[in-house]
Subunit: 312 residues, 2 copies
Amino acid sequence: MMDTLQTIGETALIKRLVGRLATGRDVVVGPGDDCAVVRAGDEDWLLTSDPIIESVHFTAEAEPSQIGHKAVARALSDIAAMGGAPRWAVVDVVAPGDTDVERLEAIYDGMAATAAAHGLSIVGGDVACGPALELHVFAVGSVPRDGAVLRSGTAPGDAIFVTGELGGSRIGTHHLTFEPRLREGQWLREGGWATAMCDISDGLSTDLRHLTEASDVGAELQIDAIPCSEAAMSADDPVTHALGDGEDFELLLTVPADRENDLLNAWSRELSVACTRIGTVTASGQVVGVDAARTHTTLSATGYDHFFGDRS
Amino acid sequence: MMDTLQTIGETALIKRLVGRLATGRDVVVGPGDDCAVVRAGDEDWLLTSDPIIESVHFTAEAEPSQIGHKAVARALSDIAAMGGAPRWAVVDVVAPGDTDVERLEAIYDGMAATAAAHGLSIVGGDVACGPALELHVFAVGSVPRDGAVLRSGTAPGDAIFVTGELGGSRIGTHHLTFEPRLREGQWLREGGWATAMCDISDGLSTDLRHLTEASDVGAELQIDAIPCSEAAMSADDPVTHALGDGEDFELLLTVPADRENDLLNAWSRELSVACTRIGTVTASGQVVGVDAARTHTTLSATGYDHFFGDRS
């Protein structure tokens, strides 16, 4: 039988495609992290691309300025997850011929406002006619040489933290209005706090697995410690929902056990977003959840897969 | 009446969208040239994005490896048009869930081969489910500081040249198999030959207008000098066809009149692609064609517009 994208899913697809690419000079980190990292001059540069597509990432009824915000903020969240500073972006727009120009202008106003608020210059792009409205934001960020915080740096014993609150993003409008955690990501990098970091775009259970696989470790998650958003609280099982809901765009990070208290003290003095300890990195290779009664459950990746759809 | 993309067209759309963007630090050239130019340490970088969409830029029957080649080569052609060297790219793939994985792998093999042949590293990207197969290639090139050849540098009296042969790209397979003129673009930049340059993606008449508008000049085109491809020769009126056909991906450039012969001599010694003088830059603000009988005709932009469609 022919393999199609919906029979193999997003993760297997990416593995099969990425294996065909050769990377050359000046590539520090190739495919597989929040951004690629390339070396030029005294700095390292973060390259990321993020598509949003009508009926997949936003509905036709969504506020145009929020669509523009989301398009840019997703790329900024990837840069935040490496501890980087946003620099430049180019944007591809695909749209049907009957698209209202004023709607597209309002989307651009949203992109421009979010870009300007975070020091990102949108310097070009391209437009093409296609069947659905799409925005593809290609962004470049920068970090000091060897400064990028990768997914692959954690070790057993490290504490696992998450910023903000999880879940309910796609029930409500959080997925359209979230703030990329740029300040927090840069602060974590500057202080050398995070041994590994990624953003939560596919759901905590899926993104934690990305991080543990990249670092060749496991994790024990304290289920009752997961900070659930008010929107998640309206779900039948808020924690299960928060584990699987995508598009939180919070940071997931690990910190050496002996710096855990220092982190929480420094964080509370300098940053206003919540930062919560939700578990511990283990050597097991498994991701398990532990509840208040110390019952262990193996957690499967329940987050969003572009070709399987929502598995939560 | 509501303005839609197909009532205002690509050029007016881009003007309306670009006017909403603010550019910040380190931006040398914003929207409107083949690439944006940003300053990164000791170098200038070229940023470009190019989408290709099934049924717009290629058919479902096209050879997968050629689809991949085209996706990458379009971005490389933009870098060539600034005299740059390719460095890194990230790729967004949009595809329906029932897409054959092997077809996508063959497309990636085509992308990888073309990227490797030109020193471009594909370092990441993203995949998403959408209604049509699309590839968005975001590429970064580099030039020495202040070295990028822009569209805006020509002056009245400069000679207009074009590389290769024009027309017939979309009748045949040239649009899928063309070679980006990277070597020629870099050679022109290194020798300081070109006062202005762009690639021909929308058709000679349209791209010449882009160049003259950016430089605030006009042009007199020697109609009989336009080098028509063999495929263009099969059209009823080869020259009109060559003026309007898009996706030639040749270079269009201007050279000071007093260096014209030196250019042709040096070119013939060092490069194998044809380079043909096709006209002269004028102060008039008009683009006119002159035939063998010295009859003048004002040329309108007949090239491809993504929302008007083919006007040739």
